[in-house]
Structure formats: structure tokens, C-alpha cells
Amino acid sequence: MDVPAVRLVGLWREFADRVVLQDVSVALPPGESLVVLGPNGAGKTTLLRILATLLRPSGGEASVLGCRLPREAWRARGRIGYVAHEPLLYRDLTVAENLRFHARLHGLQPAEAAEARIAELLERVGMAPRAGELARNLSAGMAQRVAVCRAVLHEPELLLLDEPHAHLDPEAGGLVEPLIAPGVARSRVTVTHDFRAGLAGGGRVLALGHGGSVAYEGPAEGLSTADAEAIYRETPR
């Protein structure tokens, strides 16, 4: 029996008396892809941050890669790659320096191998000529591409992507996609606004409504476009 990449049972999370996630349950088998849909404020980013071990659950059960959160979060770190809303790059370091820093944090050894991997990734997203550029001088699209490199640098088993195609034109998106595709040793959870693309990709879907409750959880084929639209249209309480 394979250990699920993600397993949530009755997860809930509150901030200062406001409940942002309620009773969320989902299981993602390893190597598969989960798309999280929902309107603004539905708690999608919060859910992703909990999976990234950056936030603790307020209640319910949560485990990623077989590690129970929050108690065993430390065991999952280093096996997760996270693309956030912000690129998580230091503005006063160059692209290469940023990636080198992350490589060191993740213990990529030896240094030459890490360098080679950094060079290879930058090449694949078309950012190699900009390796010496300060992060503050990058456009949003460039920063996003570097952020993807940062997230996959250490070959994580679980990828958590918050709007991975934000700021990316179709060409850049095409460069990035192979780096973040799910695969044999890699599961993926993607948060996206674009529910049409999300549903079109297949895999499993978790749709959150306003207030962070689950509106739908199951295979992508089971949620019609009309239903998805309805979730987005529902007025916030």
C-alpha cells in the first residue's frame, strides 16, 4: 500500500476567530496530480502553506509524504518544492547566488554538482543569460521562472504550486511546464484560478467554496464546467 503524498481528514484552520478552512478531506496517491480550485478567499493558499509545513493545522489530521503535521513536519522538509505567490528570492542577490543559496540550504552536494544543476535549470527556462542579474531587476515573469527553478532544485517528491503560470506568457509557460510535471517519483498539488485549464488537465480536483469548505472532491471528470462556475459565483458569507 503506497503512502499517499497528501492525506487530509477533517482539516480546519482559523486565523483570529475567522475560519478559513473547514473540514477538508482529500487523499492524493503518490505520483498523481491534484488541482485546487476556488474563488478568492476560499483558503487555497492557506491549504498549500499547510501542506508546505509553513502553517500548522488548527485541527483535523494532515500528513504529507507520510509525515504527520505538525509533529513530523521536519521529516518532510527538503522533500517538498513550493512555488508561492512571491518568488522567495533575495532582491539584492543575483539569480545564480539565490539558487546557490537554496542549494546550500538543501545540502546539495558536491558543490560542482549543484552548480551544474543550477546551470541546467536556468538553461531550460531560458534564464541562463540572466544568471548574473540582481533579482530586483527581474520582471515578474523572469522572477517566476527562477522561482520554479528554486522549487525543483532539490528534486522534491511533492510539488506545491500556487498559480505556477502567473506572469508567464505561453512560451515561458511551455518552458516551465516540463520542470513541474508530475511523474513517477513526484506528486503535485496545484492551486489555480483558471478552473478550465485546471479541469482540462485531468487528475483529481478539490474545489473549495467561500469560507474554506469543500464544494467538490474527486476526479476532474466528475466536475462539470457549469458546476465549477457556480462555485466561483457563490457569494461570500
Binding site: V19, S58, G59, G211
Partner: protein
């Protein structure tokens, strides 16, 4: 609140006994006269306030380890009451200084000076808490502060003592060595009374917070009955104010 009534009665009894002893039993000091009797208020207040800060640090450690907000509430209230006692320590110390030395403040009484510094530190507990919006983080950071401050107190006393002893001999040599029997008894009873007072006030404030937290919870439940109610939340989630 169980035991609160017994506690209050015991406190009143101890304080009445203490006052009686102070006024009718304890000897009159030859040098300083009647005003010396403020010693029976000033020193116990100081000892209890400092002990209170230590207790708060212990609660803070328990809060960090368990994450249970009840410990945060206990830590907060302990600091709160100790800070109030701290104001009283400074006030009574100042009165004593004025009566003994003619000045409203003396720098060569190390215990009083260390107390001032400790008080200034714990007074920053409130702005620190209020500046952090997220309640969980606020409680955690407050506990971190309480632990730092608890470690600080003995260090501070050491440093101030050392600074003064090298320059001036102790002036208020009453609290150690050479206290006659009747003074000791009066002192101990006063100490017991003040300690019980601290405990009672802390219990009272915790009970009040618990009540207001339950009230807030009921109000919320009434306002949003349709929303799925998460598991029972503990007192300080809404009541650490």
C-alpha cells in the same frame, strides 16, 4: 470558581493578622521611627512580584511545550498582577526613601534599583502583545518574552548588586541578618498575606477571563448557527486581553 472563596477568606485573614502585628506587635525602629513599618509592605510586595515573574516564566515554558492557551493565560495574568504589585513596590520604596533619607529616590539601594529595571522591562510586555495581530503568534511570542525576562531578573539583580556593593555599602540592612524575633514573625505573616493576595487576584482575573471567553463563544454561536462549529476552543483563544 472552586476554592476561590476559601482563598479569599484566607487572604483577608492573613492580611488582617499582618496589619495587626505591624501596628501592635512589631517593635518601633529607633532610627527611622514609625515609617519604617512600610518595610513590611514594601519587601513582601517585592518578593511576591518577583516570584510572580518567575511563575509567569514557568507558565510560558509550559505554554510553548504544550501549545495549550491556558498556560498563556496564566502567564499573562501572572505578569499583569506582578506588574501592578511592582508599581506598589516602587511607590512604597519611594516613600520609605523619602522618610529615611529625605529624597524621593535613592540610587544606592540595589534592590529598589533592580526592581525599577525589571519593572521597565515587564512594562514592555503589553506593547509587544498588542503589536502582534495573529493571536497564536502573539501568545507564543509573549511566552518567549516571559522566558527571556525570567532569565533576565537574576542577572539584573546580580549586576546591580555588584555595581552598588563596590561603591556603597547596603543601606537598608533590614532584610538580612539581625532581624529580631518579633520583626521576623511580623515579616513572615505580611509575606504570607501578600502572597495570598497575589494568588487570589490571579485566580480572580483568570476566572473573569474565562467568563468573558465563554460569553464571547456563546455570542458567536448565536450569531452564526449555520456554520460548522469547530471543536471546543479553550479560554484564552478569545480572552487573552
Amino acid at each position: 470558581m472552586r476554592g476561590l472563596r476559601t482563598l479569599s477568606i484566607a487572604t483577608v485573614a492573613a492580611i488582617v493578622a499582618g496589619v495587626a502585628l505591624v501596628f501592635f506587635y512589631a517593635p518601633l525602629d529607633a532610627d527611622q521611627g514609625f515609617i519604617q513599618k512600610i518595610f513590611y509592605l514594601h519587601v513582601p510586595l517585592g518578593i511576591v512580584a518577583l516570584a510572580g515573574f518567575m511563575v509567569a516564566a514557568v507558565h510560558a515554558i509550559r505554554h510553548l511545550r504544550s501549545g495549550d492557551p491556558i498556560h498563556d493565560a496564566r502567564s499573562y495574568v501572572s505578569i499583569h498582577i506582578s506588574v501592578i504589585f511592582g508599581v506598589a513596590v516602587l511607590a512604597t520604596g519611594s516613600i520609605w526613601a523619602r522618610a529615611s533619607w529625605g529624597k524621593w529616590w535613592v540610587w544606592d539601594e540595589p534592590t529598589l534599583v533592580s526592581f525599577l529595571i525589571v519593572f521597565l522591562l515587564y512594562a514592555t510586555y503589553y506593547p509587544l502583545r498588542y503589536a502582534i495581530e495573529d493571536r497564536d503568534r502573539q501568545a507564543r511570542y509573549a511566552s518567549v518574552f516571559a522566558i527571556m525576562a525570567g532569565a533576565f531578573v537574576p542577572l539584573n539583580f546580580l549586576a546591580v548588586r555588584l555595581a552598588e556593593s563596590l561603591l556603597h555599602p547596603r543601606v537598608f540592612a533590614t532584610a538580612e541578618g539581625g532581624m529580631p524575633g518579633p520583626m521576623w514573625l511580623t515579616f513572615l505573616v505580611s509575606l504570607a498575606g501578600i502572597a495570598l493576595l497575589w494568588l487570589t487576584l490571579v485566580r480572580f482575573e483568570l476566572a473573569a477571563k474565562d467568563a468573558s471567553a465563554q460569553l464571547a463563544r456563546l455570542r458567536r454561536a448565536l450569531e452564526a448557527p449555520a456554520r460548522a462549529a469547530p471543536a471546543r476552543r479553550d479560554l484564552a483563544r478569545s480572552g487573552a486581553r
